[in-house]
């Protein structure tokens, strides 16, 4: 059984006990524990269930590579599924629960899958559940979904906050082991601005556990000293609990800092995502030990040899009293030696190499440990925990030579450098036959904006496993990175490491070498996803020969650990089965993040009220206080209508229309785009931009204009006012303000760059209020001494006036068909004018109105609305706007496009009014049917509704639409089916429903 030892535990503060619960059980740990070490200290070997077969799962690793031990952590607004216990620091009061089982971890009904595992090989679901057809959706899929998935879905809103940092460094070093520390020191000494990040709370990485010396001192001492030195360097920033999550193009990278995961009640954000631009990145990310593929290697109690060592040395926890070591390299001997020195039993070391180990083996032998060379595990005994091993020859087929009782197995299949961050942005890999590993191909690195390398590997991440060479390699990487970032490197201090030499590794991909199918079906590659050696071999037999095929077919490496333990082993089995070398098979692509990062950290602080910036007009506060029902329009929120107490939205809209038509309405039109176009060539420029002529507009006058894109489609409209000979003010739609300004600049800067024109988007500089209705002039007259009579300020004219003491510009334009002035004032005066108009208009029953009343009134007048009558495929000619298309101009944007055959096709649908026979309102977007169907069996159509409203003015439905030969078919009746199939009949009429001669607006 696993237990806390009386001594040891370099990371523990035994004086500070902590309490926590697992599946409701109250357990104790100490400060410095990870949740993994604390669970093991309480003999909690079984911690979860696998994905497919619901096999019992125990902790297998000690770091971010852990595939098995995932728990649901916390409760309610702090609940988080799939939290790895190996990277969760223990804190007082932590609560967690195991996952993927029912009804309990100990007794899981889903484990029946394991009994059936022979019938559920890789890809079985592609071959089954095909008939009968409805069963997939209704029976099979729900069962599979219920059985799959890991943790529970959170239910509550996240209680925590998150933030982003933006940072710029010459050199970012990822990984705070001895390699990272030395690389940072070398780069820092050269004068580079350095960030060093370490994903755990501790500096030093594995080296302090693995032994050896640096400059004659224990590694721990060296780590303390170098950290102190780095802390004194002003140009070096150190961060623990921060993982290099991803490397992206041009030196962009993400650092994922877990600020409060270990102290959830502390103030401040929980995670901080660092968004870093680095000139150079050093990946000192270490290496991960590989499991060995023998039958029963997934039983709780089978653990990576390095992890067994970590738990003893770092946390004073033993995994078992009797630990069998199985290895193909020298490193695992360190575990045997550590255990033995702790007074624990190591019954035997099974070294698959016929020639055995080197100096470390000698040391182990000297301690009295039995070593068997050329031996392997035939099978592990036990169910929910290890009970013993059956020993066989590695070279054979698994005939059992001997059985040995044990309660833990420490395995080592060699080491794989962590090349993820090297590879994220295109760094290539080399297969190193001698070391049996993929390591970075430094001649094919990720390249940046200048085409030069921007990532360098260091230490074990570069395939160097031997302490002295790790330090040399890291020192060189740090210097090279600084140099590449423009900091000439000085030869600094190179610490000298010392450790035992190791005998070469012998690759062992299957144990024993000739294992039969029954053993291969029990030899796990991917623990979480239940992929076994036999599965990869089956994939290869069935023709899934590319590594991508095999991975996708078997799901190897697709679990939450993304194959950190399984990819290389699986790849080797695949290569072996195909009879080709590993590099020929290739690797899968590494994708960010290195280990999963919270979605909330990606979103950062932008949530709820700060989700997106909100644009407010100067009158926004008044709207909010006066019953505005808002609609989002771009980043603005515009009042759709102003609801009075007890009033429905529909009623409010109808009231606003009526009040405006009868007397006086006010519209906050500030969101409309306002762009100044100025310069000697301004007229010429606007002639190119608008379909109609603008250059001959007289100062003091306004003209409605249409803008098309180069494809000929109508993109925006608005009123242009000529302010003086040189200057125009172009009004755009609300949504078009920024894009039209950008459109203008694009043409000015990239096509007509010699034209003398300046543009300025002054949308937010002015508040604009439409004063609309028969009493509009009366209310203005109350507030101004200027002459705003029909003679002094005629329809489609503008004039500077002083209104309520405010300098204002009044445009006599109308989008409602009523007498109307749009008054622009400096934004800071907008609210004052609004208030003044409300006060002065009181006697006329002044009524602020929203966008829907605006829409209804323009529809009653037959005015088109960009986005309703247009949809990006409509040209002005479709809308009967030929009068606004200059015949005199040689060119304007869109003119050539409108000459194309489809644009001049006489059968294009044209704008008409539509009037239902029964007075009802046509549904928005309804189509008019024609006889028959097209070649694809779709009902033929001959028109559609583009706008439809109930008109309070006329007391019935009105609509506009585009209809085949529409203008020539006045009086024809069309069928408009509703979605429920019933048909509304509507007559084609003139689109102007109200005041056809325009008498009301021109008084």
């Amino acid at each position: 059984m696993s237990t806390r030892l009386a001594n040891g535990g370099r990371l523990l503060n035994r004086g500070k006990p902590l309490e926590f619960t697992f599946n409701g059980k109250h357990l104790r740990g100490v400060e410095g524990d990870t949740l993994a070490s604390a669970l093991l200290a309480n003999d909690q070997m079984l911690v979860g269930r696998s994905f497919k077969y619901h096999r019992p799962r125990g902790i297998v690793a000690s770091g971010g590579e852990e595939p098995n031990a995932l728990v649901g952590l916390g409760e309610n607004g702090r609940f988080e599924p799939n939290q790895r216990v190996t990277t969760t620091e223990l804190f007082d009061g932590l609560t967690c629960a195991s996952q993927n089982h029912w009804p309990s971890l100990e007794f899981d009904v889903g484990a029946v899958n394991a009994k059936l595992s022979r019938f559920l090989p890789a890809g079985f679901y592609y071959k089954m559940f095909i008939h009968p057809r409805p069963f997939w959706k209704h029976i099979y899929e729900p069962i599979i979904r219920q059985s799959a998935g890991l943790g529970k879905a959170p239910r509550d809103r996240d209680q925590d906050s998150y933030e982003h940092f933006y940072a710029f460094y010459d050199v970012v070093v990822i990984g705070g082991g001895v390699a990272g520390l030395q690389a940072a020191r070398a780069a820092g000494a050269a004068g580079a601005k350095v960030l060093l990040m370490e994903q755990t709370p501790h500096w030093g990485g594995r080296a302090p556990v693995d032994g050896g010396t640096v400059d004659g001192q224990p590694v721990d001492k060296f780590v303390d000293e170098i950290v102190s030195e780095l802390e004194t360097m002003a140009n070096v920033t150190l961060r623990t609990r921060m993982m290099g999550a991803g490397v992206y193009d041009h030196g962009y990278m993400l650092g994922y800092e877990r600020l409060n995961d270990h102290r959830p009640d502390a103030a401040g954000p929980r995670h901080r995502l660092w968004r870093i631009r680095a000139a150079q990145i050093v990946t000192a990310t270490g290496a991960i030990e590989r499991p060995l593929s023998f039958a029963g290697n997934d039983i709780p109690g089978v653990m990576l040899a390095s992890a067994v060592r970590d738990y003893v040395v770092n946390y004073g926890v033993s995994i078992g009293d009797r630990t069998v070591i199985v290895t193909n390299n020298d490193d695992a001997y360190r575990t045997a030696i550590t255990l033995k020195k702790q007074g624990l039993e190591v019954p035997v070391i099974l070294d698959a190499r016929a020639s055995g180990g080197g100096a470390l083996a000698d040391e182990a032998r000297a301690l009295g440990i039995r070593i068997e060379n050329g031996k392997a595990i035939a099978k592990v005994k036990g169910g929910k925990r290890v009970e013993g091993v059956a020993i066989c020859l590695q070279a054979g087929e698994g005939a059992v030579l001997e059985e040995v009782k044990c309660d833990a197995i420490a395995m080592s299949g060699g080491w794989s450098p962590v090349v993820h961050l090297w590879s994220h942005c295109g760094g290539k890999l080399l297969w190193d036959d001698e070391k049996a590993m993929f390591r970075p191909d430094v001649d094919n690195p990720p390249t940046g904006a200048d085409g030069a390398r921007f990532v360098l590997p260091a230490g074990a991440a570069d395939g160097e496993m031997h302490l002295p060479r790790v330090l040399e390699n890291a020192n060189a990487a740090g210097r090279a990175a600084a140099q590449a970032a423009g900091h000439a490197s000085k030869p600094g201090t190179l610490p000298v490491g010392e450790t035992q030499d190791e005998a070469p590794i012998t690759p062992v991909w299957m144990m024993p070498q000739g294992a039969g199918i029954k053993l291969r079906m029990k030899a796990w590659l991917d623990y979480q996803n239940d992929v076994k050696v036999s599965d990869v071999q089956l994939a290869a037999r069935e023709g899934f020969e590319s590594v991508e095929h095999a991975k996708r077919y078997t799901t190897l490496g697709m679990a939450t650990d993304q194959g950190k333990l399984s990819n290389i082993n699986g790849l080797a089995i695949l290569s072996d089965t195909l009879g080709q070398a590993i590099p020929q098979t290739g690797t899968t692509t590494f994708r960010p993040p290195y280990t999963p990062i919270s979605l909330a950290s990606i979103a950062g602080p932008a949530r709820d009220a700060t989700f997106q910036p909100l644009r407010r007009t100067p009158m926004h506060g008044w709207h909010e206080a006066n019953g505005a029902y808002f609609e989002p329009v771009g980043a603005w929120r515009r009042p759709y209508c102003f609801q009075k107490a007890g009033e429905s939205i529909t009623d409010a809209v109808q009231r606003e229309v009526k009040a405006t038509r009868d007397s006086l309405g006010l519209l906050d039109a500030s969101t409309l785009g306002k762009i100044i176009v100025k310069g000697p060539d301004a007229g010429r420029f606007l002639d190119m931009l608008y379909t109609n002529m603008m250059s001959n507009l007289k100062p003091g006058r306004c003209r409605y204009g249409l803008m098309c894109n180069e494809n000929g489609f109508l993109m925006d409209d608005g009123v242009v006012a000529r302010l003086d000979d040189d200057t125009f003010l172009c009004h755009t739609t609300t949504g078009g303000a920024d894009s039209i300004h950008a459109h203008m600049e694009e043409w000015l800067q990239t096509e007509w760059w010699d034209w003398k024109v300046y543009t300025a988007n002054v949308t937010e500089q002015y508040a604009q209020i439409a004063v609309v209705g028969p009493k509009a002039r009366k209310v203005l007259e109350k507030l101004t001494d200027d002459d705003v009579s029909a003679d002094a300020l005629s329809f489609m004219g503008w004039k500077d006036i002083t209104l309520a003491g405010i300098t204002a510009r009044a445009y006599r334009i109308s989008f409602s068909g009523e007498l109307s002035y749009e008054v622009a004032v400096p934004a800071s005066q907008g609210r004052a004018l609004w208030d003044a108009l409300l006060a002065a208009g009181k006697e006329f029953g002044v009524t602020p109105y929203g966008t829907e009343a605006l829409h209804i009134m323009r529809a009653e007048k037959g005015f088109i609305m960009i986005g309703d009558e247009t949809d990006g495929t409509v040209i002005p000619q479709d809308l009967g706007l030929d009068w606004a298309i200059s015949k005199k101009k040689e060119d304007y944007l869109g003119k050539r496009a409108q000459e194309r055959s489809h644009m001049t096709d006489p059968t294009r649908w044209k704008l008409v009014g539509l009037q239902t026979l029964d007075g009802s309102t046509l549904p928005d977007g309804a189509y008019a049917t024609a006889d028959g169907t097209n070649a694809n069996g779709q009902r033929n159509v001959q028109g559609r509704v583009t706008s439809s409203y109930h008109s309070p003015t006329l007391g019935r439905g009105i609509a506009m639409g585009l209809v085949l030969n529409g203008p020539a078919r006045m009086g024809d009746v069309l069928d408009f089916p509703k979605v429920d199939g019933t048909v509304i009949k509507a007559k084609i009429v003139d689109p102007i429903f109200y005041d056809k001669d325009g008498e009301k607006q021109n008084v």
């Binding site: 994905f51 609940f79 599924p81 799939n82 019938f119 090989p121 079985f124 679901y125 071959k127 089954m128 959706k137 979904r145 799959a148 998935g149 890991l150 879905a153 959170p154 509550d156 996240d158 991803g246 193009d249 295109g426 037999r541 069935e542 023709g543 590319s546 991508e548 095929h549 077919y553 939450t560 994708r591 960010p592 993040p593 999963p596 990062i597 919270s598 979605l599 909330a600 990606i602 989700f611 609609e631 000929g712 966008t851 949809d871 990006g872 495929t873 194309r900 055959s901 489809h902 549904p923 928005d924 977007g925 189509y927 049917t929 694809n936 069996g937 779709q938 089916p977 509703k978 979605v979």
Partner: protein, 414 residues
């Protein structure tokens, strides 16, 4: 081809699964085929399959530079829907969707088509009108959709936040028979069925040249020798321009990176696919339990299969706003695909200036859902010279100004 079934799995289990045959053969190329398809992605394989099934043309080779299904077929968010606005789009996507319904049975391969329903949220008045229009159009196109209320949205997707604050859900366009499928299985299923008809799927075979005589195609040059053919179909997504160059014509296509991501797997919490176009994000839950999230596309040409992180940020932020409970889930993996954008964002299925050469490209972000329909139509186009499903998607439409623009109804093409 041995049939797949539960019985076959049980039978093979007794033999420890040693008796399964290859899913598709791996033959050496012949000197000549009637038809060569370049590109063994979903669209290319489906084209080959329907050439055989519908027209009896089986002397077909599908040439693939890498591994079949290794492009966008295997790197998308697997959404299948046909609630398109314009007639030609609705026709081909609905044909596709209806073929997906029975694809597992047709191919004897479980592609796991899951008609769980797709909803597109309306969060502005403009979107409401756009989706109402689409619902009307769909009714006449034979596509079953409806515009549903916010309370119905909440009923179908309990984890959604319909109250805003910034963009309350005002309704949704709902297509109950839309859904998802297992992307790899679609490619593998078609490949197996093609192979069973005697067609040659030749992987690791890169086309380096296209031979012509008198304006007509005669064959291709590859790294595995010259191969002659009467007709050539180019179905290579991100590499279309490159192949068109070889054949001597240009395409109105630009390639950009589109991104997606998945969370760690959790137990079932969302049964339908939700697309929120105002805030730019869409999400579904895979059978495995991962939340599958689609993000934005870069606006610049890019062949790296890596995109810009700020799109991921924008998408995740939007989805947390829409589904607050995903906040504490973790991103497991993000990736990019290269998508081809045409002048109107709709695909090209067309004859070309070279006789005998046909092009199928420009699917943008909508390729996966179209695979069976595209294969069906393109096979007919290649066999007969025209096809109702394809005719509107010709290369000529840009010259004529006859756009098929789906962005018009707010229904951005995902």
């Amino acid at each position: 081809m041995k049939r797949y079934s539960a019985f076959a799995v049980a039978r093979e289990a007794l033999r420890y699964h040693m008796g399964w045959e290859r899913a598709w053969a791996s033959p050496e190329p012949k000197k000549k085929y009637d038809v060569i398809i370049v590109g063994a992605g979903g669209h290319g394989l489906a084209t080959a399959y329907y050439l055989g099934r519908n027209f009896g043309i089986t002397n077909v080779a599908v040439l693939e530079k890498g591994w079949l299904g290794g492009g966008n077929t295997g790197r998308n968010t697997t959404i299948i829907r046909s609630n398109y606005l314009q007639d030609p789009s609705a026709a081909i996507y609905e044909k596709s969707r209806s073929l997906y319904e029975t694809l597992s049975q047709d191919l004897n391969y479980n592609v796991m088509y899951s008609p769980r329903g797709v909803m597109m949220l309306a969060q502005t008045q403009h979107e409401i009108r756009g989706y109402e229009r689409t619902a009307h159009a769909n009714a006449l196109q034979g596509v079953s959709t409806e515009f549903i209320s916010p309370s119905r949205v909440k009923e179908l997707v309990p984890i959604i936040n319909i109250d805003g604050p910034r963009y309350p859900v005002l309704g949704a366009l709902w297509q109950p028979r839309a859904g998802t499928a297992r992307h790899d299985a679609v490619a593998w299923g078609y490949a197996r069925a093609c192979s069973a008809m005697g067609m040659h799927i030749i992987q690791k075979c890169e086309v380096t040249g296209i031979s012509r005589e008198g304006g007509k195609v005669t064959g291709v040059t590859t790294n595995r020798g010259d191969i002659a053919c009467d007709k050539l179909g180019i179905v290579v997504a991100g590499h279309s321009g490159h192949l068109a160059d070889m054949a001597g014509f240009r395409l109105p296509v630009e390639s950009v990176a589109l991104q997606a991501l998945v969370s760690e797997p959790i137990k079932p919490c969302m049964d339908v696919v939700v697309m929120a176009n105002t805030v730019h994000g869409y999400m579904s839950q895979s059978d495995k339990g991962e939340m599958v999230i689609g993000g934005g596309a870069d606006g610049y040409n890019n062949f790296t299969q890596r995109g810009s992180f700020h799109h991921i940020e924008e998408t995740v932020r939007a989805l947390i706003e829409t589904f607050p409970m995903i906040s504490r889930l973790k991103m497991l993996r993000q990736w990019g695909g290269i998508v081809d954008m045409t002048g109107d964002r709709s695909p090209i299925l067309s004859r070309t200036p070279v006789e005998g050469v046909f092009i199928n490209c420009g699917w943008g972000t909508g390729g996966f859902k179209a695979i069976p329909g595209s294969g069906w139509g393109f096979a007919e186009l290649m066999a007969k010279g025209h096809a109702p499903l394809c005719d509107e998607f010709s290369l000529n439409r840009f010259r004529e100004g006859r756009f098929i623009d789906e962005s018009v109804a707010a229904g951005v093409a995902h």
